[in-house]
């Protein structure tokens, strides 16, 4: 009986450890995440590292998922959508080569986490979400966290935000089989656009588009894999 009790106690303690580690000290969890999953995987852009260290990722995920917020994997946020894994957020942000003065358009607000990371680096972020529920939640979170340089909008991101354009950079967070023509016209000369290529549940590349003198140059950044996250996980 004593052995059984000891087993139960140890199990309970072990089960609560990860929760305590993140809930009690999210800042430390963030620093660990940045060191291990971002810098450790070859991303050295100081602005990106600083932004990732500052943004409280756990505030952008559902309550039940908070203890897993700083793992290097995507998490479901409702409406069949996910918050991208930290490495992908960092990689996409780094590849935009941001200096700090940009006006950035993000297509697919989702949880608002990517917009928050961008807001730490650039001047203004415009972000569009097609799903009303996600738009509401993300806007509330961003307002609570006092991000004043982020503008959110509930609309179809395919058509961009012509009134706010042109943009220095555009980030599309959903995979598409073609780059939406309306977005290209909202990209400044010399502007950069980044998006994932391929099915969101399988092998993917990142694609960086640069506009120069009316021509478009596409750089394909191979070898990005998104962990599958759907089915039951998305409910």
């Amino acid at each position: 009986m004593q052995l059984f009790r000891a087993y139960i106690t140890i199990t309970l303690v072990l089960c609560t450890l990860p929760w305590q580690a993140t809930a009690m000290n999210p800042a430390e969890a963030r620093r660990t995440m940045v060191a291990r999953d971002i810098r450790g995987r070859g991303i050295h852009d100081l602005k990106v590292l600083a932004a990732m260290t500052s943004v409280p990722r756990h505030r952008f995920v559902p309550q039940a998922m908070q203890r897993r917020a700083y793992g290097d994997h995507p998490l479901p946020i409702g409406d069949g959508q996910t918050i991208s894994q930290p490495y992908i957020v960092a990689l996409m942000t780094t590849k935009l080569n941001l200096t700090g003065d940009e006006k950035v358009l993000e297509i697919g607000t989702g949880s608002g986490y990517q917009a928050a990371v961008l807001a730490h680096i650039v001047k203004t972020v415009y972000t569009i979400e097609i799903r009303a529920n996600l738009h509401r939640k993300a806007t509330r979170t961003l307002q609570t966290l006092k991000y004043t340089n982020i503008h959110t909008r509930h609309a179809d991101g395919y058509f961009g935000w012509p009134q706010a354009g042109p943009f220095d950079c555009i980030m599309i967070t959903a995979a598409v089989d073609h780059i939406p023509p309306p977005l290209k016209s909202q990209l400044k000369e010399g502007g950069r656009m980044i998006l994932p290529q391929g099915n969101p549940f399988s092998y993917q590349n990142l694609v960086l588009v640069t506009k120069k003198s009316g021509d478009y140059f596409v750089e394909q950044i191979a070898g990005v894999l998104f962990v599958p996250m759907t089915g039951e996980a998305l409910k």
Binding site: R131, P181, V209, P228, E232
Partner: protein, 795 residues
């Protein structure tokens, strides 16, 4: 009562198997369907193992189990577990793609195996009991079982347009209960028997209706969340406007403002896209219909890669669209000013929808059969084939529209300056692009082209490539080179210098596509193609009809290199269908070994052992039968295009004819056993040898005649294949244990050979499957010839 029970459960279980393939086609991917159904079929073999163990403990089972009360119980259990199995499967949170990252999925997979194996277990139990207890009538048992199965293979296809999959499962699950619905008809008062039976049937129908209505959510087949249709449905304002079920697939019509399919669209195009409607087949393959009421479709289509073919021809008058999903090819032709392109679509539902939408006649036919019958020539032939929505999802599929034989046919139907065009998605490392290029090269060689590379052009944008093939050496007009430049497309291959570097607008880290095609071209020029194909990390060798263009490109010898090339993630490798086939084969070997070893090891008496010759005989006959089935299914898929039609025709035909063979075997003495076995081997050997004759003949026929021709072709081998097992059960198995063990061995061999056939077909081609089958039958014939003296069978 036993034989009617065997007939009805055989019918119901085969119908259930057909319905399962339909269910999995929608709710999962072909890998998982293959994996789960293959393993579930071990239920048949497990019944033999179970009875073998029972024979050790209670030898008296042979007297009690065939009694009507026990048969009734088994039939009721069959019905019950079939319903539980289907509903359980629909509720199981099995997510194949999360297998490598979520350990719980392994448990769900195991649960799926067990759930699905149960109905087959009870079917096997009843059949095995019949073989073991009716030892002098094994031919009849065989005939009854096979005829039931043949009808079971055929009927779902006819009923699917009328009833949903779930309703049909309920119907088939309850069908065998008719056997138990009343007292036997040979009772003194037949009228009373009919009355009670009639009441029983009415009750069954009522139970069925109540089940269908109350358990509707459990019976509804939900498409996989990974499928393209599921993804689109998550967007606001997306709605399904129509749907229907067919043997060839579930068709759904979806309308959404978020549908925007424009593969190969130039980055320089800044205009709008037209309104689109998607027609999905099994929730993933789709046909996109464009709203042509405005001039949008034409303007967007003029900015896509496939439009290059029309620019190169100059002023095209005629075009042939070989439609295979997608949907941009039609608007490409319309945008080029061809008002009425010739459209051939093999799927009848898609063909009707296409014709209705654009008001252009659409021919429903196998495109190659159509071209064989028609003498028309075209300025442009476009093959629309974009592949599955997830790389690797179509790895087990093989296309006969992209073989050297097919391309040779297309080339022969081009006008002298005509262009053949194929466009697909770019993948890294280059795979299908290289194989297509090589296929076109070799087809041109067959046509007598002195320098095939001069007849080929490949261009690409950031996610799509287009291969252009001409019967004449290509001279690139200024208009064409400007088209490529203006739309920011890149050259992958051209024999004419263009002044634009490769990898200019759409940059990989290195010009991977250009380098690979250049090396392949050089290999052809220098005669080193063998070295190129064996050194390249992926299988990109061009293929003939014997090994139709496989969706897989993996090489076992290069798997480590591929693993690293794809980010050192197990998940990426799991996308390869071939890996799944190997995993399933490994699982199947372990399960088969367990099912065969356990009863042998548990046996204490000599009568509870199986002579090795008999064991190998039954293994060979089981393996041979399935290999022949799969050979014909794959061969006739080249005729019918739709695998589901081929599956139904072959299964119904072979099972019915072999059932007839089984019945005739009833009149054969023991000495006759080797003759039909060798006869089957001889006739089967003639099938691939005479393919050059019967394949074009079948292609030249109209659909009903194609079915009749296919059945005529399988009639004789099918009938001969019915003899060995039925005769073997009568003469080669002597005791009740040996008969149930033979049943288990036959079941194990069937599953193992079915899994092996998938690998053989992908790796070595279809003829290798038939060679395997012939070898099995010759081996079985030799064993039958040298086996012991004739002895009277005893239960």
């Amino acid at each position: 009562m036993l034989l009617p029970a065997v007939f009805s459960v055989s019918l119901a279980s085969l119908a259930y198997e057909v319905l399962l393939t339909r269910t999995f086609a929608v709710s999962q991917w072909n890998h998982l369907a293959f994996m789960v159904i293959s393993i579930a079929l071990f239920g048949f073999a497990a019944s033999g193992t179970f009875l073998g163990l029972l024979d050790h403990r209670r030898p008296g089972w042979v007297r009690h189990w065939p009694e009507p009360a026990m048969v009734r119980r088994l039939v009721i259990l069959f019905s019950l577990v079939t319903l539980i199995s289907f509903c359980g499967l629909n509720r199981l949170p099995l997510d194949y793609f999360r297998l490598p990252v979520d350990p719980a999925q392994a448990l769900y997979l195991l649960a799926a195996y067990l759930l699905l194996a149960l109905p087959f277990f009870f079917t096997g139990l009843l059949t095995s009991i019949a073989y073991t207890t009716q030892t002098r009538r094994t031919g009849r048992v065989y005939c009854v079982s096979m005829t039931g199965s043949a009808i079971g293979a055929l009927v779902p296809g006819i009923l699917l347009p009328v009833f949903s999959t779930g309703t049909l499962v309920v119907m088939y699950a309850l069908l065998p209960l008719c056997v138990c619905a009343g007292p036997p008809l040979n009772r003194p008062c037949r009228l009373q028997g009919y009355f009670v039976r009639g009441c029983g049937l009415v009750c069954l129908a009522a139970i069925g209706m109540v089940l269908v209505n109350t358990a509707a959510p459990l019976l509804r087949v939900r498409p996989s969340d990974y499928k393209y249709m599921s993804q689109i449905l998550r967007f606001p304002h997306a709605r399904l406007t129509a749907g229907s079920h067919h043997l060839t697939g579930r068709i759904d019509r979806l309308e959404s403002p978020s549908l925007r399919f424009a593969p190969g669209l130039s980055l320089t195009y800044e205009g709008p896209l037209p309104q689109q409607t998607a027609v999905f087949k099994d929730a993933d393959a789709f046909l996109m219909l464009y709203d042509t009421r405005t001039d949008w479709p034409q303007s967007f289509a003029r900015h896509t890669l496939p439009h290059a073919a029309y620019v190169l021809v100059g002023a095209p008058q005629t075009a042939l669209i070989i439609q295979n999903g997608g949907g941009t090819a039609v608007v490409n032709a319309l945008a080029a000013g061809i008002a009425a392109p010739t459209i051939v679509e093999p799927n009848p539902q898609w063909a009707a929808i296409l014709q209705d939408h654009y008001g252009i006649p659409v021919t429903t036919a196998n495109p190659r059969a159509y071209l064989n019958r028609s003498a028309a020539t075209f300025d442009v032939i476009q093959i629309e084939s974009w592949g599955g929505s997830i790389p690797g999802a179509t790895a087990l599929e093989q296309s006969t529209l992209l073989t050297t034989n097919a391309l040779s046919l297309y080339l022969s139907r081009l006008k002298p300056d005509g262009i053949l065009l194929m466009a697909r998605k770019t993948l890294l490392p280059p795979a299908d692009s290289l194989r297509l290029w090589a296929t076109a090269y070799e087809s041109l060689q067959n046509h007598g082209a002195a320098e095939p590379a001069r007849h080929l052009v490949m261009i690409r944008n950031w996610d799509t490539f287009a291969l252009i093939v001409s019967r004449q050496p290509l001279r690139l007009s200024k208009r064409f080179t400007q088209f490529v430049r203006r739309h920011n497309f890149d050259w992958v291959h051209t024999a004419t210098p263009t002044g634009q570097p490769a990898n200019h607008f759409n940059r990989f880290k290195a010009p991977y596509y250009h380098q690979a095609v250049t090396q392949l071209n050089k290999a052809y020029a220098q005669g080193h193609t063998e070295r190129f194909f064996s050194d390249y990390n992926l299988d990109v060798r061009p293929q003939s009809d014997d090994r139709p263009f496989p969706g897989r490109h993996m090489k076992w010898t290069k798997i480590r290199a591929m693993y690293h090339a794809m980010g050192s993630r197990l998940y990426a490798v799991m996308l390869s269908g071939e890996i799944i086939v190997a995993v399933v084969f490994g699982e199947a070997v372990v399960i088969a070994a367990l099912l065969l070893l356990v009863p042998m090891m548990a046996g204490r008496h000599a009568r509870q052992h199986m002579p090795w010759r008999s064991l190998v005989f039954f293994l060979a006959v089981g393996a041979g039968f399935i290999l022949v089935e799969l050979y014909f299914i794959k061969q006739f898929t080249q005729v019918f295009i739709e695998p589901a039609i081929s599956f139904a025709v072959v299964l119904a035909g072979i099972l019915a004819f072999s059932g007839l063979g089984g019945l005739l075997s009833q009149y054969c003495p023991r000495a006759a056993l080797p003759r039909p076995t060798f006869g089957a081997a001889g006739v089967l050997l003639l099938i691939p040898v005479t393919r050059f004759w019967w394949h074009p003949w079948l292609l030249s026929l109209a659909f009903p005649m194609q079915v009749a021709g296919a059945l005529a072709l399988i009639a004789v081998p099918g009938m001969l294949m019915g003899f060995p097992f039925a005769l073997g059960m009568r003469f080669a198995a002597q005791t009740s244990f040996q008969r149930v063990y033979a049943w288990a061995a036959n079941g194990c061999a069937s599953v193992l050979s079915a899994v092996a056939a998938a690998q053989i077909s992908l790796a070595w081609g279809l003829n290798a499957i038939m060679i395997g089958a012939v070898t099995c039958y010759i081996g079985a014939g030799i064993l039958a010839a040298v086996a012991g003296r004739p002895t009277a069978a005893r239960p």
